[in-house]
Symmetry: C2
Subunit: 298 residues, 2 copies
């Protein structure tokens, strides 16, 4: 059973509001020193992101019966890691982007040094808040921290993916290499978001595995539709610079397969993701999230 | 009882060799992808640092009877956090340094993007290896991770200290502000190194407190002697650019107190640090470390 769009919208709005309250609670106030650093962090983290990762964490945890109180802090931690990666990826020496979610990027507004430190702090804070989360037992905290750190680092995580992505600019790369880059750069953290919910929900190994598979395919789907949007939408709609991938000669799914084949690939990946959910008791929201990623307009 | 210099030298050499073996084991090989990233990490972490923090962790842990096997991975983690902070501090938008420990800084050799990612990875890896350390129980891992994250972050940690340090350039600041900056920027991680050894050694709260005080004063001493060396030594001896603080109009102890008063301050801080050790059973190495920091030449 798939909920109608209004149901998913209200789920996403609700979970975004909850995680934003939690982030506000966990991140030092803009009035405390060093103020510039805390303002820079808050500028980037409260820039109106879609909060897909926290929603995924909530949906997975709740599908397994975990109370929101146990999921809340880890959901905020995942969003901290995600935002740190965006701040660093936008830097002049990386993707050199000046617009993100319709706002100036962190280094444009606060300077490069502060932006680097804002990202550094968000990474540390993510681990800090999970370690300090008294709603979870020690073993669960350690498992979550380990998953998060592996997803953020190298060789299988986000930083490794960004390195490979930068190295691939202006080069011809294979579809397999491209998929590897995305798996590391964005997929790893999406998978960990779903796994975290499942871990907190006390999932058995086989459920943990199928949830991970679902999220892996969801991440792939997200990247495919991201590439499609970059070639088909305007900067205004995206809230970030459109057509940037082509300008930077980055390998993308459309540049390798063409737009029509890429659309078919998206439909196929969506189907495979949903198939992983058949054994879950209630996969309503997880199904709807996959639908939404397939059909997203921005 | 203070050991002679040869005893401390052999202790430091031995602990440095052990932590370097552990780092080599924990950090991905230069031949694995992304190679550039792993080479950059290894360039900076195997640049021949003094490994003061791991030595402090070993000495504290061993003073409380902890076996080296339990201390090893956390010692490596502390050095990862330290090296990550050096890589980021050296970046053009921060201190813009091109020489570190007598070698090219990470961004000069590998480019800015890779250097930023190398630092990011080292931070993630530090948390990863502690979380995965099966020699420690879950509670100890959580306590260590929490301490490390707080020391790395804001408002009391390294990143906050670096932000305040950058903001103070070219400004007149008070001695109190200067001390606050150093406490956050370098002191916090030094304190955590000693605390980590004490935690792994099962220290009672009062011992944890006096060890932390000792390390706090040791960190202060290290900064004071660092400032002194910057005005009294040459680039060649230091292995990094000398006289840089004055060029950057940074507030330093000599610029506030003058060289002679700064030397007296160093002697006083050293005495107070050693007084914290009176109740420890065997403080030989910890005493000798304080002596060495007071008398260091580079």
């Amino acid at each position: 059973m798939t909920p109608n769009n209004a149901d998913l919208d209200s789920y996403l709005l609700n979970s975004a509001a909850l995680v934003e309250d939690e982030l506000d609670r966990l991140i030092p106030k803009a009035e405390t020193e060093p103020q510039e650093l805390h303002k820079a962090i808050r500028h980037s983290i409260f820039a109106g992101g879609k909060r897909l990762r926290p929603a995924l964490l909530f949906a997975t945890g709740e599908a397994l019966g975990a109370p929101r109180a146990k999921l809340m802090t880890c959901a905020a931690a995942v969003e901290m890691i995600h935002t740190y990666s965006l701040i660093h990826d936008d830097l002049p020496s990386m993707d050199d982007d000046y617009l993100r979610r319709g706002l100036q990027t962190c280094h444009v507004k606060y300077g490069e040094a502060t932006a680097i430190l804002a990202g550094d702090v968000l990474q540390a804070l993510a681990f800090e808040v999970v370690a300090a989360d008294e709603n979870l037992d020690y073993k669960t905290r350690v498992d979550l921290i380990l998953d998060l750190a592996v997803a953020a680092g190298t060789p299988g995580g986000m930083a490794a993916g960004q390195q490979l992505d930068l190295q691939s600019e202006g080069k011809q790369i294979t579809a397999e290499d491209l998929e590897q880059i995305h798996r590391k750069k964005t997929g790893a953290l999406i998978v960990v978001s779903a796994r975290a919910g499942a871990r907190i929900g006390g999932a058995e190994p086989d459920v943990l595995r199928s949830v991970s598979q679902y999220a892996d395919l969801l991440g792939l789907l997200y990247q495919i539709t991201d590439d499609l949007l970059d070639v088909t939408q305007t900067t205004d709609v995206l809230g970030k610079t459109a057509g940037k991938d082509a300008t930077a000669e980055k390998a993308t799914y459309p540049s390798i397969y063409g737009i029509e084949e890429t659309r078919k690939l998206a439909v196929d990946v969506h189907r495979r993701a949903c198939e992983e959910l058949v054994d879950l008791e209630d996969s309503t929201i997880l199904m709807a999230i996959a639908d939404r990623v397939l059909d997203r307009k921005a």
